[in-house]
């Protein structure tokens, strides 16, 4: 059997199909309920996927996140409240369309162009990932060191308008990664004498805490009055979609391409992709004055961008083990647990697994159309689910899920502390994504730094003389120092 045939067999097993359907419903629901995000859906899935074979586990995450990013549009459109942060960029626009009686056009555009964007991102993933992997096979510790550092740098500058706070967040994440015996001398670092911390702090409880518990705390102290759902009959959501496709081909392409690129950059995910795409769409539109008044063009472009970002984020995650967004940060943890360690060798040793991931993405984006259509039909019921019942249940699920990974109550403590920390950090303007990337990549950064230092034997030029390492080094330093230099130059020019 060829690798592709094996991949088909893996993906089209009845169990896997069942998992994908269940994950779709879960993803659609989580995305549609404001306050529950796609990243949270992933974190909640991990304890369950822990008990699955690798492909169904990945299938669950891929499907649930694709669905959640789409269904996040629904409450944006009907309640002016984004279901996930990825829909926030065009929530006002979608709501304005609803006020004009065009709710089905906004929802339909969200659905159809989400699927198209997702498929575009998948196509780029299929083409780019193996090529990059072949290139990455030649990498040594020097290249990996710079690559990780570049990734972390991107995360700081992409996820925050306050790079200083992003940098602090990143350093705290790296510090958490130091905890335990996993270091060059296997010396117990920062464990405070606790035996439970010798193995390091569990990634999954940390993620569940940072992405789920913090949201529940935010819900508990949310003083805003509950929002009203617009009561408007919804017609055929597919009506007019072909017309939009013919009218805005450039916008769809540009949104998908930008989305994939932003997704692939470490740290920035679907939400930032949508914001950037919406801005680009307005800038290049022939009718920019219509933006904000219920104009579908921006929704078409940024709706495709946020779903293409999902697939884009998997490119660096699979090839280098560097997550493109917070969802793939969790995915990398899952891949390690499933013995599918990300890296270029994944493409050479187990190509069937990679092909299966491609197939999963394609299927997820195709079944999104019928399932999403159904979800829009029942959306009013979903939006009526009382959140004061839902949130406690989710939190208990988080607790049990954190416990389930290692069967220890210590992990529940880790989850709780991480949740409170994430809440306080966000409240004070420290972005969370860099911290997550720091936790995920800390070990890799240190390992490559230390082995490079040992190989270099005191000669630092080795970090810069290899061609690829030198290029990556130059890029990293440019991202660090260009903003400062530009600021100075501008000030000089102004003075």
């Amino acid at each position: 059997m060829t690798a592709w045939e094996q991949a088909f067999v893996l993906v089209f097993q009845p169990y896997n199909i069942f998992v994908m359907l269940a994950a779709s419903l879960f993803g659609l629901f989580v995305g549609a309920v404001p306050g529950l995000t796609a990243t949270m859906a992933t974190a909640l899935l991990v304890p369950v996927t822990f008990f699955m074979a690798p492909i169904p586990a990945i299938a669950a995450i891929v499907t649930a996140t694709a669905m959640a990013i789409f269904s996040g549009d629904i409450p944006g459109c009907l309640m002016r409240m984004p279901g996930t942060p990825a829909s926030a960029a065009y929530t006002d626009e979608a709501y304005a369309m609803t006020r004009k009686g065009q709710a089905e056009l906004a929802l339909g555009a969200g659905l159809v162009f989400s699927a198209i964007g997702g498929l575009f991102g998948t196509a780029v993933l299929i083409v780019a990932a193996p090529t990059l992997a072949e290139f990455a096979l030649k990498f040594s510790s020097y290249e990996y060191f710079w690559l990780v550092l570049l990734g972390l740098t991107c995360a700081v500058f992409m996820t925050s308008d306050r790079p200083l706070k992003g940098f602090v967040s990143l350093l705290l994440g790296l510090l958490i990664a130091c905890v335990g015996l996993n270091n060059p001398a296997a010396f117990p670092r920062l464990t405070f004498g606790s035996t439970e911390m010798l193995g390091g702090l569990g990634m999954i409880p940390l993620m569940i805490g940072m992405f789920a518990i913090s949201e529940i705390i935010r819900f508990a102290v949310d003083t805003n009055p509950p929002l009203k759902i617009v009561d408007q009959p919804l017609g055929n959501v597919f009506k007019g979609m072909w017309g939009l496709t013919k009218k805005y081909p450039m916008q769809i392409l540009r949104g998908s391409a930008l989305g994939t690129l932003v997704g692939a950059l470490p740290g920035a995910g679907a939400d930032i992709a949508a914001w950037m795409s919406y801005a680009v769409s307005k800038k290049f539109s022939k009718e920019p004055e219509k933006f904000g008044t219920g104009h579908v063009e921006g929704i078409v472009e940024s709706g495709s961008a946020n779903n293409s970002a999902l697939a884009g984020a998997w490119i660096p995650a699979l090839v280098f083990g560097i997550p493109g967004d917070s969802i793939t940060a969790i995915v990398i943890g899952v891949l390690y647990m499933k013995n599918m360690n990300p890296g270029p060798t994944l493409f050479t040793n187990n190509p069937q697994n990679i092909y299966a991931v491609y197939l999963l993405f394609i299927i997820a984006n195709l079944i999104m159309i019928p399932l999403g259509w159904w979800c829009i039909k029942v959306s009013k019921q979903i939006l009526k689910v009382p959140r004061n019942v839902l949130m406690p249940i989710i939190m208990l699920f988080c607790v049990v899920g954190s416990f389930a990974i290692n069967n220890t109550a210590f992990d529940v403590t880790v989850m709780l502390v991480a949740g409170i920390a994430a809440y306080v950090m966000e409240d004070n303007g420290f972005p969370i994504a860099p911290a997550i990337l720091g936790v995920v990549l800390g070990g890799m950064l240190e390992e490559n730094l230390v082995s490079s230092m040992i190989k270099a034997d005191g000669d630092f030029s080795a970090f810069f003389t290899r061609p690829v390492a030198g290029t990556l080094a130059a890029l990293t330093l440019a991202v660090w120092f260009l903003p400062i230099v530009m600021k100075r130059l501008r000030r000089l020019a102004g003075a």
């Binding site: 304890p47 369950v48 822990f50 008990f51 200083l164 706070k165 940098f167 602090v168 350093l171 705290l172 790296l174 510090l175 130091c178 270091n183 060059p184 001398a185 010396f187 670092r189 920062l190 518990i213 529940i216 705390i217 508990a220 102290v221 949310d222 003083t223 009382p386 004061n388 019942v389 949130m391 406690p392 249940i393 939190m395 208990l396 699920f397 607790v399 049990v400 416990f403 389930a404 069967n407 109550a409 529940v412 403590t413 989850m415 709780l416 409170i420 306080v424 409240d427 004070n428 303007g429 950064l445 240190e446 730094l449 230390v450 230092m453 040992i454 005191g458």
Partner: protein, 161 residues
């Protein structure tokens, strides 16, 4: 609760200094220049630099006036008793879970955990207990039976299945 950047900077500076002192006690690998202290040491230095910058930023903001000039800005909810209560209960139930799970077991802890949260979040009284019991049993079944997670039975060890 928002603290002024200078306060964060001061706290982080303390952390950075404590780290720098602490990593001095890490052993070296014989014959190698780099050891387990290198990486956390580098983080501590970078953290120290950021901390100083944050202090400067915070002090500058204090001079400039406005909301960011305050040492501490309390969120809206901290002035309303109900929300403060909800905040502490949300965290408290988890501490209760951690402390009581081995003794009371999952079924009892889970039911209490959910009931308390439902009441505080304002779920209708007659629904509180039924939903709490059903959901606890459901989660227990899913994790204990289907996923084979050894959730503790505690006091109910006698009825364990």
């Amino acid at each position: 609760m928002k603290l002024n950047d200078a306060v964060w900077g001061a706290l982080l500076l303390l952390l950075s200094a404590a780290l720098l002192v602490h990593v001095q006690s890490f052993p070296t690998i014989p014959g190698q220049k780099v050891g387990p202290a290198l990486f956390p040491g580098a983080i501590a230095v970078a953290l120290g630099v950021c901390a100083v910058l944050l202090v400067l930023k915070g002090l500058a903001a204090r001079g400039a006036g406005g909301e960011s000039a305050e040492w501490i800005v309390l969120d809206d909810w901290t002035r309303r008793g109900h929300y403060v209560f909800a905040f502490f209960v949300t965290i408290g139930v988890n501490i209760f879970y951690i402390l009581a799970i081995d003794w009371l077991g999952f079924l009892i802890v889970g039911t209490v955990y959910l009931s308390v949260l439902f009441v505080v979040y304002g779920v209708g009284r007659k629904w509180v207990l039924p939903i709490a019991v059903i959901v606890t049993l459901g989660i227990h079944y899913a994790f204990y039976k289907l996923l084979k997670v050894p959730l503790p039975w505690g006091l109910l060890q006698g009825v364990a299945y």
